[in-house]
Each structure stands twice: as structure tokens, then as C-alpha cells.
Symmetry: C2
Subunit: 339 residues, 2 copies
């Protein structure tokens, strides 16, 4: 059996209350006993039973994060941002992966609520907020939606100014003198559409036209993004009127497109400039350093963390909060004249 408060108490001829008080740093304990207790606690390697204290206090000083998967860099950065913020406030973060499955996500929510997590962060896969609405009894546990917000939810939300992502990249290339800017657009999702809108707006503002054959649809989903990027470039180069600027929905697609262009003898950035999205350190350092829009995942995580801490603080303050973080451009060789 594990060591309990009671054991330490018996060991030192004290009551378990005294031990408990020492462990929680209460001040009405003499320095002498305090030292004695701490010494024995260390020796016996006592680890408190969080189930028990949670049952009594109603809190675990633990927060849960549910991610679609734990292998993606941007998700890991969100996690790191949250972790930094909440651990500074004395909370531990535990992560669950929904393995890209919306039903599994719901199970994870129940597990974390069941575990008495003090707050939840979810990068959700739910289309709508139906699941969350039906459990209003769960309102004790604040939930912060990160990056994606199920339609209808009136919960806290921290997301990305997606339209600006597309705008920043397109505006940059336009200001750099590109006249025909192609866009390897993302999926037909809310995010994909917003970024495409930003791209179009930037072009219009610069007096350019987002000609429809400059926008390449996301192709066969059975292929990886790198290959999709290459194939998109094939299409662009096979037509008359090749672009002098290319923006891709992801860094990997951008790298694929750049590789294909290079292979066909296009000089980068002299003849064609490129920008990606995600600012992936790995991809952006390869070959021709890639200009990319930094989505700001770490910041996203920090804001989400702060929001949860606030929600726990004033339980009465349940006004829905929404924050959008602003993306930032990282300029590199792929879009700048070599000096």
C-alpha cells in the first residue's frame, strides 16, 4: 500500500491534519515540526492522492487538452504555449489525442471531465456544438476552444485571423512586384475559404486580378501535400501565362511546388517568388529558404491558457470570449531578390 498522510502522522506521533497543513504550506505550524515533517515526507517519498484531495476540494490543479493528433508540429506548439502559461500558474496539463476522430474526441472530453480537470482546451473536430450544448451540467468545467470553433458554440474561443493569413502572403508578393500571383488553395473548409478570400482581397487592393486559372484547387487527397504541390506546379507551367508568384496553403505544398519549378529550370526568386504558410522550421530551411506566414501557434496557446485561468478565477464571468491572433510574415530567400 502506498504511503498515506496517516502513516506519516503515526510515524511522527502527530495528527494527519498537521501533516496536511505542512504540505499545503499553512503558517500555523512551528518551524520545528514543519522541518520534521518535511524530512520524513521526503524520506518516505510520499506522493499525495490527488483523487482524495480533489474529492474534498473540488479541484485538481490539472487542465486537459484534447488534440486531433499529437504528431503535428503546429498542435505541439499550441500545447507548448498552453503549458507555459498554465504551469506558471501552478496547473499541470494533460493531453489526450482524439486520433482524428470526432466521436473519440467526445469520449476524451468525458474522461477529462470525469478526472475532474479544472479546465479543458479543445482543438475540436466537431462540426457543430451539439455535443457541448447537450451537457450544460458540465458548465462547471470551463472549455476553451482553440483554433477551430464548432458552429454555434458560445464558449471561449481563441483562433487565428485566417483571412489575414492569405492576405499577408499575397500582399507581400504583390508589393514585391509580382503581377500574376497563383494560389495553391487549401480545402473547402471555413479556414480554406477565409484564406482564399484574404488572397483575393490583397490582389484586388493592389490592382491585380485573381484570375481563376491562377487558383489551383486542392487535388486528390490520397496524395501527400508535397506531391500535390508538385502537380499543381506542373499544371501552372503547362499553361500559357506562367505566374511570377506562388502562394501555397502549407509550407509542404510550397516546397513541392518550388522543387518542381526548380526542376524545370525556373529561377527562384528571380523568375518566380514563393510563400508558404505555417513557418515550419524544418521545411523553411531546406534548399531555397521559404518565406512563410507564421500562424502564431505558441501565442495562440498562451492566450488560450490565460483565458482558462481567467475563467477559473471568476466563475461568474461567463461572458463568451473570443480572441483572434494575428499571423506574421517571415521573409526569406524564396520571395526576395538575392543580394
Amino acid at each position: 500500500m502506498r504511503v498515506r498522510l496517516k502513516d506519516i502522522a503515526a510515524d511522527l506521533n502527530l495528527s494527519k491534519m498537521t501533516i496536511s497543513k505542512v504540505l499545503r504550506g499553512q503558517t500555523d505550524i512551528s518551524e520545528a515540526t514543519k522541518a520534521r515533517v518535511l524530512k520524513r515526507v521526503k524520506e518516505l517519498n510520499y506522493i499525495p492522492n490527488l483523487s482524495a484531495s480533489s474529492l474534498r476540494t473540488g479541484e485538481t490543479k490539472t487542465m486537459g487538452l484534447i488534440l486531433p493528433s499529437i504528431g503535428k508540429r503546429w498542435l505541439a506548439e499550441i500545447a507548448a504555449g498552453i503549458n507555459r502559461t498554465v504551469s506558471a500558474a501552478g496547473y499541470s496539463l494533460i493531453v489526450c489525442s482524439s486520433e482524428e476522430d470526432a466521436e473519440s474526441e467526445q469520449r476524451q472530453v468525458e474522461i477529462l471531465v470525469s478526472l475532474q480537470a479544472d479546465a479543458l482546451f479543445i482543438v475540436s473536430l466537431q462540426e457543430t456544438s451539439a455535443f457541448f450544448d447537450q451537457m450544460p451540467k458540465m458548465r462547471t468545467t470551463p472549455i476553451v476552444f482553440v483554433s477551430h470553433m464548432p458552429a454555434g458554440t458560445v464558449e471561449s474561443y481563441v483562433g487565428v485571423h485566417e483571412e489575414l493569413v492569405g492576405w499577408i502572403a499575397a500582399d507581400h508578393l504583390a508589393k514585391s512586384g509580382c503581377k500574376r500571383i497563383a494560389y495553391l488553395r487549401g480545402p473547402r473548409t471555413a479556414v480554406g475559404d477565409l484564406r482564399a478570400n484574404g488572397y483575393r482581397r490583397a490582389l484586388n487592393e493592389s490592382g491585380l486580378v485573381a484570375h481563376s486559372d491562377l487558383v489551383i484547387e486542392t487535388m486528390s487527397f490520397d496524395k501527400d501535400e508535397y506531391t500535390r504541390g508538385r502537380e499543381a506546379m506542373e499544371r501552372l507551367l503547362s499553361r500559357r501565362g506562367r505566374p511570377d508568384g506562388v502562394i501555397a496553403y502549407t509550407d509542404l505544398m510550397a516546397v513541392g511546388a518550388m522543387d518542381e519549378a526548380s526542376r524545370r529550370g525556373v529561377r527562384i526568386p528571380e523568375e518566380m517568388r514563393f510563400a508558404g504558410c505555417g513557418d515550419d522550421a524544418l521545411l523553411c530551411q531546406m534548399r531555397i529558404p521559404l518565406t512563410s506566414v507564421d500562424i502564431g501557434e505558441h501565442d495562440l496557446g498562451q492566450r488560450a491558457g490565460r483565458m482558462a485561468l481567467r475563467a477559473i478565477g471568476n466563475s461568474k464571468d461567463k461572458g463568451a470570449q473570443r480572441v483572434l491572433v494575428k499571423p506574421r510574415l517571415e521573409r526569406r530567400t524564396s520571395s526576395e531578390k538575392a543580394r
Copy 2:
């Protein structure tokens, strides 16, 4: 306040015992009341308090996994492997990141033990088992070390046959006819040394010599692996007697080396064959598809999961268990004559 068993009981004029029994599937309940209870439970969206039941039963049906970081693909695959196995047995997996910090790892262990996780998996950063030895009182919680084993531990361990990783890659290139096989070796760690030994053994077995200037040391750690791969290739090509085969400690280094070689006009695989380690889907599909040693992380995770389940089953069976999974070669264009 959250819904409790008591609330449902009062609601239906039953005792909380009855509700509890229904929820745990005990059979001594009439079908009628069972249905009534389940209906109300669903309506009220009851979520059990795991702290309370854990306190009573001593188990949480939860296991913890501690990773150095959650952004790495191979760690994510280990996690997925564990998850698959333990969730099939009714356990939930919760993940904590130690953020590459050995002290933080210790804190995570304490948190998960405190949370009453039924078993722990650790991809550990500890050099020695000192921390784990000093908490024998914690032995109630089985710990499975994955991938890396702190010196001295007598716990369960599932790792990789690292020597074979180096051997497989080198043997493959040797059998393909390469006579001068270079090795961009990893760090001076246990793993790095084992793989280097495997490389040397394979060469010897094929009657080749692991000439010292064919083994390139890991260079400046402030640079990313891609750049290190490129720079290693620069060095190899600047000497007389260029290699006709190159093995790299990671896929990313291999890609860097291949890029640099291509840039300098070396034809791959005709003039130089390449193999990496890790079988990273992203990196292995780029440009020249890269032959790579699949470390078998998913398998690693599954074995670890099974080991933990066994440890929970027979609490008496505390014989230290060790398993090494075998890596596998994935052949691709970088090492095969184009057909």
C-alpha cells in the same frame, strides 16, 4: 453543482446503490429499473466522478505516458501504438510532455502517480534510474520504459535493436555493390554508438573497411540536421576518394546530404546510394524517394502497452521484462538502380 449518483437516485426514488449497480452492469437489477435509470442518466448527462470511484476502488482505468515532447513524429507513433493497445483493454491514455527537461519529467511522474494512473510509460530523459529507485513505495504503479532505458533500472523495458538499425542500412548498401560507404553518425550517446557499431559490423562482414574518414562526426549542434547533412556531404566531396554509398543517422540528414550531392552534379543512385533512418513519410517521399530504416515505433508502442497490461494483471509477476523490436528496411529509389 454537477449531477451526482445521489441526484439521480432521488430523482427516481431509488437508492444510489441501485444507480451505481446499473452503471457498472451488475446483473441483480430488474430490466425495468435498469432501463429507467439508463434513460435518466442519459438525460441528465451524468458523468461519474472518477476521483471518488478511484478513491474507493484504487483504480482509474487510466494510464499515463510521459514524452520528451509531443511534436516529434516518432514519439507520436509510439503514443499511437500504446493507445491502440491499452484502449482496446478499456484504458484511457493521458500524455504529458516533459519539454525535454529531466526534472520536469520527474514532476510529471509524480503528477501521474498522484492522479492514480494505473500504469506509466516513459520515454525517459534520465541518465540513471536514481530517481525511480528512490521511490520504491511507488512500486504499486507499474512503469514501462520505452525506447530509452536509464542506466540501472530493473523495470520493464521496450526498446529498439539499435545496433541492427545501423547494420541493416550498411548491409543493404554493401549488398547493392557499394564499396566505400560513408556514415553520417549520430551523437555520442548509447544509441549513436550502437548504430555506428552495426554499421561497422556490416561493412566488415562484407569485406569492406569502415575507413575513419568515411565516418563524419555530428557537427555543430546549433545547426539543424538538414544543414548538417549538407555540410557533411561538402566535406565528403572535397576529399579524394568520394563515397559511393551514404548512410545518415536521420532521414533529415540524409535529405540534406542528397540535396548537396545533387546540387554538385552527383547522380543518385547511379553514382551514390543513400539510406536514412526513421522512415519519415514526409521526408522519404520528397524528390528522390529515400531508402530508410523503419525503426518500428508503432510496434514499440504496442508491445509497451501489452507489457503494462500484463503487469497490472499479475501484480506478483514483477520479473523485469525486456523486449527489443527489430527495425526493417524500406527500399526506395535513393539506393536502387532506376529500372
